[in-house]
């Protein structure tokens, strides 16, 4: 399969942007703040190099190319999932109880995605490929849901993020939303326009790369320390007192309401 000139440009742009992002992540020290995201970016570079090297040496339709493509897709998917989990942890780590609850929901969601992918794979003639494709689809939708839920939680407990983390979240959400739309349309109506649609998918990833690159063009601001008001023991004592007061207030309000409506 030959690529058109436009597709070649897109491919060159994607590769360049991936390398620029990789260089900036390590030059700005983001790997110390978001190690799993840095690992994901590094794997994107490895994937790009490995896939193109394989295509160049063994050809696009060779079994080696097939093996390298699908295995690298699996690894990158796993890395993406871990990078999103890391962002969740970084976002709400200053709320230990909220994180403890969120962690369980995330684990449950990951399990549900895996089971869904396994069921999809079991019905298919190429179970390994079907597993990866179903996992990718469900993960894309899962990421959009997770990022939204995370931002709602962040708002509910007044926990805020730095500019870089915000952009990383936005990038993941934008790319995953596009991929979800892509999958939905591809299945039904877009196979005829396959090449254009693949190009659109590449463009969406390039936009994501630009979203990630933008805050890294300037030196990173120092990370905000986790906003902890009190030590653990002190927090528990004070919150117990607050809870007790609230119970008394609720009782008082009930009593007032009863006397008022009598």
């Amino acid at each position: 399969m030959n690529l058109s000139t436009f597709q070649n440009y897109l491919w060159i742009a994607e590769t360049t942007l991936t390398f620029v992002l990789f260089a900036l992540v390590f030059a700005r020290g983001l790997h110390r703040r978001l190690p799993l995201f840095a690992a994901y970016v590094a794997l994107l570079v490895v994937e790009t190099v490995a896939v193109h090297w394989t295509y160049h040496h063994w050809g696009y339709t060779s079994s080696a190319a097939r093996y390298v493509y699908w295995s690298s897709l699996g690894i990158v998917l796993l890395a993406r999932m871990l990078a999103v989990a890391e962002l969740c942890w970084r976002s709400i780590r200053s709320s230990p109880a909220v994180w403890a609850i969120t962690r369980r929901w995330l684990a449950l969601l990951a399990l549900a995605l895996l089971v869904y992918a396994l069921v999809g794979a079991a019905r298919n003639n190429s179970p390994a490929i079907a597993l990866l494709l179903t996992a990718e689809r469900s993960l894309d939708f899962g990421i959009v849901v997770i990022v939204f839920a995370l931002l709602r939680l962040r708002r509910r407990y007044d926990v805020w993020l730095g500019a870089v983390e915000r952009n990383v979240l936005l990038g993941f959400a934008a790319y995953s939303a596009f991929q979800t739309v892509n999958d939905a349309f591809m299945q039904k109506w877009m196979m005829y326009y396959f090449r254009w649609w693949v190009s659109a998918s590449v463009v969406s990833f390039e936009i994501t790369l630009l979203i990630w690159i933008a805050p890294l063009l300037r030196p990173l601001p120092p990370p905000a320390p986790p906003s902890i008001l009190f030590s653990k023991e002190e927090s528990v004592t004070l919150l117990m007192q607050i809870l007790e007061r609230m119970r008394r207030i609720a009782e008082e309000m009930k009593r007032i309401a009863r006397s008022k409506w009598k």
Partner: protein, 185 residues
Amino acid sequence: MLSAILAILLLFAVVALLREDKARERRKAIQRDMPREQLLPRHYKSFVDIEKKLWEATEASQRTADWERTRIKLRGAELQVVRDYVKGLREDFSQGNRIFSVVIGRSPDEQILKQLEWHRMKIEFPYYASLALVRFRLRMDRVSPRELQRLTQAVATMAYEVRSILQVFENGGHGDSVESLLREY
């Protein structure tokens, strides 16, 4: 197909939620120099004045024993007063809720978090229900004193609980944390 529509809607919501960060930064900058009293819920205290204005705006025939239950048709100036009051109540509630959020969000214990969250939900539900009702009536240039009273009561409960939270901190010798709570979040 449903997943695609949902994904697009969620993406828009994500962008909107991320844009709130800028508004938060602006608010924080303003809060730093504000007098402390303005950082706490206060508009709800003027309910008596509003009630008096509504009584004056009521036609003589409607001034009955169950006046509170009537739906008063308001003229331009009175309508604006009630709208401003409701806007103030919303500001009060968001101020109170924010302080509540910071305090319970930092809870190291799951059980305490759940119980405090339950308390908050018991205030939030009547607040949002009353607010929706009052805003719906205001769209039709009407207001019911009873509904406005319920809305005020929900805001007053939130304000009371927040003041009691701050009191616990101050009594425990954490005056600096109270200042940080009011100005840095």
